[in-house]
Amino acid sequence: MTTLENFSLKRSLLYRCYQQQPVALTAEIDPGQLSLHDFSVKLRYGFRGPQAHTVLSAAQIAVPSAANNLCTTASGELVLRLSNTEYWLLHPQAGKQQTLLESQSTEQCYSLFCQDSHAWLVLAGPNIARVMAKLCAVDLRESAFPRGAIAQTSVARVNAIIAHHSFGDNAVFSILSDSASASYLWDAIQDAMQEFKD
């Protein structure tokens, strides 16, 4: 019998896109190189509802004070506040897996399905704002979109959440977007990156 711990059952919808680019699957970021990474299989979960803030607070998870902002916990989790009542928790370093249906909803605090509904891409390195300027109408330059900011917008005509945050010592964009469109978006971002690559 296989179990859920058998990771071969759980696959990023993107894995064929970067079979020739192993760096894409790693969390090792070279700050001197523009790179795109697939974090889709990394743990994330979300909660929404009037009691979501209370539930997270009870779990000793600090949350941003306003929507469209994020903060980082001591353990490296990213806490994204997407609205007054919606929070996503991203674990860029975590390796363990979370299942869709294991996140139990409680009254007034409903678990979301971001682990599977959204792919998680990370764009890192120099010129990331210019790369995104070829795909997205929001000003993502550091001066207008500092670390800790979130934009819920359209990237290459696909709905996306863009989070600007630190990963190690590097500033990166996490892009959370429709998992079914992920390979399309992967190609679109790769195409936009070409002129900035060595």
Binding site: L4, T99, L100, F113, Q115, D116, A156, L185, D191
Partner: protein, 967 residues
């Protein structure tokens, strides 16, 4: 002249003298210098004839040397209408002229010019429409003559794309006003984008002489450019055109093959002004150009524009140009000043001191041409006797160059696109701009300021206003005024023999404009449309003002009363590739997509999803579908249904919400059961359907159609914004992958896998739903019967979808499991008489027409559309969706074929397939209500035009007792 005879430095700021570049023009090898434009390289090689005019095929050479006119449109390889005075030469370029018959030098169609009196403006509209049938005879000839250049129909697409840019301030134009504005704003901390259409910074500073000594421009240019280039807050874009102004300073800028979509808080337009020509006979000959063009040729390209020049001017610019020309060795035959005397006496004195004759109150009445109108050879100069009129006595002056300057027209296009009002003073012949929107500012000569010191101050003034708006400055802003007058009030000298061109693009002469007014087109906009003046590539840059003057005079009004034509985007011709390039067309793949590809599926679009239609070759389509259908009926098949919409509804009011949204009753739906869910619009029309699964007391998982789920989700959010029920609604379509395992052996296949659900008929009956784990994968299992067989819809997290497919295909191997596609599923569900919303329904279909009365609860007080459903179903029904059959040998109807009842169209076929299981063609169609009972027949008009008789039958076509799906 050749490259060895180029003018000495500092002339030639754009060329590299030690880098020759060879290209071809009209098949002849031409050697230019790196940095040359095509036009400058040709002129350096004494090739003045560059192209032919649009209508009369007259020889044309450079007019502006700034890409502001259509005189130098050439064919560059496969690309027509390239501006030769802008395009930089490259090695091996293949350049040719345009619009000639025979050769550029010897154009047979040049004879057309002799018949110009028979081709007055508007003659197209009035000449070819009668007698009846005349157009058909003329059309081929006219179409052959129409258009410029040759399209390469074999051209390969090139990479064009787009990019957003964001700045505090954008300055359009890097002349002295733009440079000073950018510097002041950047010094105050603003992030500035400086956009310049030309290849170098400086604008007029780079070619124009501002003072008698000729020192002022050089020193000012050096100072400003050095500071701008060193400034960290200024981003410079050269060879970039701001092609429009849109609301809130949304500014498209074109540079090379990229369209930049610029968003700025403040915008300063310092676009300069277009030098204007003088209207006289033969004013279009090669060798006649703007004063600024001659200056650009010398300063930018070190090309001597002629040997002996006449400068025709209505302002001081001509005098300064004459000084420049003389310094570079051009003999100045005369400065012909249309004014009674030069306004700056020292300037006139300086010119006379240089030995140049000055003829005041005079004009060029006619330019005399060499053979074939190839070049100017002399001018007929006459005294001006009245505005637009000359004395009879002529003085012929030999020359090979005429430089002219009638004045300057603001480059107002972007500003007028923004709603700015361009006003003209009939007294001073000057323009002013007003009514600009907030955050859009104007500076420099486009603002009517021409004196260099004032231009620089005006740029700083505009920057000051912008900085104030950006909260980066609070200094007092003082207005800048300018006393100089650059515009001569009537530089139009019509000639009885014509060829006194107002619009070079369209070969429009002064009489053409006047004649348009005589035909009743008094409004300037009507004159434009009737005569096509200003509609060519230069978009009225030089023709708008003389046209306004001519119309004003002809209609006995002032220019102010007449106005000028409207400026609309784009500012310069814009390649469609810039808009089309790198367009985004999102496509969605299920987690099992690559398994389908590996199995040979033919993929089709379903919205932006890609789904397998069937598995096999296109040639074997029908066999593949029939084979897959029989496989499901007889054994077991597997279809990817991940594209089905999925919506989670959770919360204490979930059942109440579902009950209000859908037509059926859901309040008492047991947990663990599914129920068919029909959604009607407020108009009572069926707009979607799916299955509502009650996962828990306060938890529903609802499916929706592939292309309808977004609409359903929006509707749910909209309604609950009003109802305020205590629920959460989430669109989880992409979160779940799903398959339908269907066929008599479906249970056996599923039992092969390790799961924690009892699959027996007793424990898991038809229409039940269960949460379970299959080989450890969390899953939702639904026993539904869309294809009419024992089946399980299995919904799993999308990250596990591919693994689930693999597991089921492996488990089903011993049962000969086969995948089946959407086309097969359409046939299978048709056999069961199940409708597809959108295919078997239209925008008028209510539940009664679709025989869905059973799915509408009459006991509950409300559902969305209930009132309308009651109304439309209470009315006399006129049509109904019915099942029909035909003998297989009859021509098969297709979807959309009409159902004919007597003389009327009663409806149309919505689905029709051949069913091997039924042994007939089966289908669904809207039929007249009188023909809707089983046993009736309906007439269907098929492709051949024949009427095919079909029998109306009861549904379903297959397994009428629905026993198979309930096994």
């Amino acid at each position: 002249m050749n490259n060895l005879q180029r003018l000495k430095e500092p002339m030639g700021s754009l060329i590299e003298r030690d880098r020759p570049v060879t290209f071809s023009f009209e098949g002849q090898s031409i050697v230019g210098l790196a940095g040359d434009s095509i036009a400058s390289a040709l002129l350096a090689n004494n090739q003045w004839l560059i192209s032919r005019s649009f209508k009369y095929h007259r020889p044309r050479g450079p007019l502006t040397m700034a890409g502001q006119d259509a005189n130098t449109l050439v064919q560059l390889g496969g690309e027509p209408n390239v501006l030769a005075d802008n395009q930089v030469i490259g090695a091996q370029m293949q350049v040719s002229g345009q619009n000639y018959s025979g050769s550029l030098e010897s154009d047979r169609d040049a004879l057309l010019g002799h018949f110009s009196r028979f081709m007055p403006v508007g003659f197209y509209y009035r000449s070819f429409f009668k007698p009846m049938g005349a157009w058909e005879k003329w059309e081929g000839f006219i179409r052959k003559k129409a258009g410029l250049g040759v399209l390469d129909l074999e051209a390969k697409p090139e990479y064009y794309d787009k990019e957003y840019l964001f700045y505090d301030l954008m300055v359009v134009g890097a002349g002295p006003a733009g440079l000073s504005a950018a510097l002041k704003a950047a010094d105050a901390g603003a992030q500035v984008l400086l956009v310049e259409e030309q290849r170098l910074l400086g604008g007029a500073l780079s070619y124009h002489r501002f003072d008698i000594q000729g020192q002022q421009a050089t020193s000012t240019l050096s100072s400003l450019v050095d500071k701008v280039q060193a400034h960290q807050n200024i981003q410079v874009m050269l060879s970039a055109t701001c092609n429009a102004w849109f609301t809130d300073n949304y500014l498209p800028v074109i540079q090379d093959k990229r369209l930049f979509k610029v968003r700025v808080q403040e915008c300063i337009v310092a676009s300069g002004a277009f030098e204007q020509h003088v209207v006289f006979r033969n004013n279009d000959l090669p060798g006649i150009m703007m004063c600024s063009a001659a200056s650009r040729l010398m300063k930018h390209y070190a090309v001597k524009p002629g040997q002996r020049a006449v400068v025709l001017t209505g302002n001081d610019t001509g005098y300064l140009t004459a000084l420049d020309l003389a310094e570079q060795g051009v003999q100045i035959a005369a400065v012909v000043d249309m004014r009674e005397s030069s306004l700056v006496s020292e300037l006139q004195a300086a010119v006379r001191d240089a030995g140049i004759e000055v003829l005041c109150n005079s004009t060029v009445y006619e330019a005399l041409a060499t053979k074939g109108n190839k070049h100017v050879r002399a001018v007929d100069v006459r005294k001006i006797s009245a505005p637009g009129e000359v004395a009879s006595q002529a003085r012929i002056i030999d020359c090979d160059l005429i430089c002219m300057s009638a004045g300057f027209m603001p480059a107002y296009q972007l500003l007028c696109q923004a709603g700015g009002q361009l006003s003209y003073s009939d007294d001073t012949a000057q323009f002013t701009l007003s009514n600009l929107p907030a955050h859009l500012h104007v500076a420099g000569s486009v603002n009517g300021v021409h004196q260099l010191e004032q231009v620089i101050k005006d740029g700083q003034r505009a920057a000051g206003v912008a900085l104030h708006n950006l909260s980066l400055g609070d200094e007092t802003i003082e207005a800048v005024t300018c006393q100089s007058n650059h515009n001569y009030h009537w530089p139009i000298f019509s000639h009885p023999k014509g060829k006194d061109f107002v619009d070079f693009d369209e070969d429009l002469q002064a009489a053409d404009i006047v004649n348009a007014t005589r035909l009743g087109y008094r409004d300037i906009q009507l004159v434009k449309r009737f005569s096509t003046v200003g509609m060519g590539p230069s978009q009225g840059r030089h023709s708008a003002l003389p046209t306004a003057r001519l119309v004003a005079k002809a209609t006995k009004r002032t220019v102010t009363q007449t106005g000028i034509t409207t400026a609309r985007p784009p500012f310069v011709p814009e390649k469609l590739a810039l808009s089309a390039g790198r367009s985004f067309n999102p496509v969605r793949f299920t987690s099992m997509h690559h398994r389908h590809i590996a199995l040979g599926a033919q993929m089709i679009a379903a919205g932006n999803w890609r789904r397998p239609a069937y598995y096999g070759s296109v040639e074997q389509r029908e066999q593949a579908i029939q084979s897959e259908a029989l496989q499901v009926r007889n054994k077991v098949g597997l279809i990817d249904v991940s594209t089905l919409g999925g919506i989670e509804v959770r919360g204490p009011d979930a059942a109440e919400f579902i009950n209000r949204i859908y037509t059926f009753a859901f309040l008492k739906q047991p947990v663990g059961k599914t129920r068919y869910a029909v959604l009607t619009s407020e108009q009572g029309v069926v707009i979607d359907d799916g299955v509502a699964c009650r996962i828990g007391e306060n938890h529903f998982y609802v499916t929706a159609t592939t292309t309808g789920v977004d609409q359903v989700y929006r509707q749910m959010l909209k309604w609950n914004a009003q109802w305020r029920l205590n629920i959460d609604v989430a669109n989880v379509t992409s979160a779940f992958s799903a398959v339908n395992l269907a066929g008599p052996d479906a249970r056996k296949v599923l039992q092969k896998l390790d799961s924690d659900v009892d699959l027996s008929i007793e424990a898991f009956p038809y229409l039940a739903c269960r949460e379970a784990r299959i080989e450890g994968i969390p899953a939702r299992l639904l026993r539904v019967g869309f294809v009419g067989e024992l089946g399980y819809e299995i919904h799993v997290p999308s990250s596990c979808g591919e693994a689930l497919w693999d597991l089921l295909m492996a488990a089903g191997k011993e049962f000969d499991i086969k995948p089946f596609g959407v086309e097969t599923q359409r046939l299978l569900r048709l056999e069961k008489g199940h409708i597809i919303v959108g295919q078997d329904t239209d925008s008028m279909s209510h539940p009664g027409e679709l025989s869905l009365n059973w799915a509408v609860s009459r006991k509950k007080p409300f559902f969305v559309g209930s009132r309308s459903v009651d109304i439309v179903m209470a009315q006399t029904q006129t049509r109904k969706l019915v099942g029909f059959t035909l003998d297989a040998i009859i021509e098969q109807p297709k979807e959309g074929h009409l159902v004919i009842s007597g003389d009327d169209v009663a409806g149309h076929v919505t689905s029709c397939e051949y069913s091997a299981s039924v042994g007939k063609c089966i289908g669904l169609a809207f039929a007249a209500i009188g023909d809707s009972q089983p046993g009736s027949s309906i007439s269907i008009r098929v492709d051949s035009g024949a009427l095919v008789e079909a029998s109306v039958v009861s549904l379903p076509f297959f397994d009428p007792d629905n026993q198979r799906q309930e096994l």
